[in-house]
């Protein structure tokens, strides 16, 4: 017996609603203006350029702290997204009732290292993260950010995260 596949719009709405709830709950993500593009389960963090993100007004260049924050946000959302995926696809998360308060708890950053490869130009920035290890208690995530050229990243990062407890 085969089940009829879900209509594509239902799937998209559910995934977009879960992603939106994940991102909307964090004031600092809103403050930096970061949003996420989704293609299937692949996420790309997008940070449009804004004057308040500048760290060196002479070049000008994006502040190193902003770059670090952008990478960390991209890493933690990717990790949370990968943790929620199975539950979401299995129907265990009701997107209609998802609010920042009812979402499962997010992983906590243990440490985060940023490599500054080039100065961040006054342009939009993009980042993609990859969960390289996802254990019961700890996870490792790599992340890379670029601007005009995907092959020329301006920063890369690696972080370790403490998984949320079973109490949720």
């Amino acid at each position: 017996m085969t089940r009829k596949p879900e209509p594509v719009q239902v799937i998209k709405q559910r995934r977009d609603a879960v992603l939106a709830a994940l991102v909307a709950g964090v004031p600092y993500i809103r403050y930096l203006g970061i949003s996420f593009d989704r293609r299937g389960d692949e996420l790309t963090a997008v940070m449009p350029f804004d004057d308040k993100l500048v760290g060196n007004p002479f070049l000008p260049a994006i502040h190193g702290g902003v770059t670090a924050a952008f990478l960390e946000v991209a890493a933690i959302i990717e990790l949370s997204w990968s943790l929620l995926w199975d539950e979401m696809e299995g129907g265990g998360l009701d997107p209609a009732r998802l609010t920042p308060e009812t979402l499962p708890r997010l992983p906590k950053t243990i440490d985060f290292t940023v490599d500054y490869l080039r100065s961040g130009l006054p342009r939009d920035a993009y980042a993609r993260a990859r969960v390289t290890r996802s254990g019961r208690r700890y996870a490792s995530v790599q992340v890379e950010a670029w601007q005009d050229n995907r092959a020329r990243p301006f920063a890369q990062g690696i972080g370790h995260f403490l998984m949320p407890g079973p109490e949720g």
Binding site: G25, L32, L53, H63, G65, A68, R105, D111, F112, V114
Partner: protein, 151 residues
């Protein structure tokens, strides 16, 4: 030049001119040769966990990075700096509502690279919120110590 040490004027100026440091409300509390103390107020816009009101680690990173750069610029003859890498260890969540203070020191200085350590605390200064280590580039103006070093 201010009374806060060699290069103090440069570092003060540096901080005033950074749009993102202004956006975070970062203030220079103390400056000496190779060390800097910077702080930022609690602000609900910078919260990372709405359930607890704890400030996002990214905002703490921005404060740490700025304190490291400021410490480098407080070195005699330093005219410019950029972060090469920065590692942050998050010890505990900062207490909501409290000011966060970062103390940065240059613990080793070479002709073109400065190694920096920083510690962030909230109002309980005995238990760090986060620590950081980083390498920063340093540019030096004409006549600075860099020009007398062998190349």
């Amino acid at each position: 030049m201010t009374g806060t040490g060699h290069g103090g004027g440069m570092a003060q100026q540096f901080l005033q001119m950074i749009p993102h440091a202004r956006a975070l409300g970062i203030r220079l509390d103390d400056l000496g040769e190779g060390h800097a103390v910077l702080s930022m107020p609690y602000d609900s816009r910078f919260v990372g966990d709405p359930r607890t009101g704890v400030i996002h680690g990214g905002a703490v990173s921005a404060l740490m990075d700025t304190s490291g750069g400021t410490a480098v610029l407080s070195l005699p003859g330093a005219t410019g700096t950029a972060t090469i890498d920065l590692r942050i260890d998050y010890m505990r969540p900062a207490t909501p509502g409290q000011r966060i203070t970062a103390r940065a020191e240059c613990y080793h200085v070479t002709r073109s690279v400065v190694f920096v350590r920083a510690t962030a605390t909230d109002e309980d200064a005995r238990r760090p919120v986060a620590t950081a280590t980083g390498a920063f580039t340093v540019e030096r103006g004409a006549g600075g110590p860099a020009d007398r070093m062998p190349r």
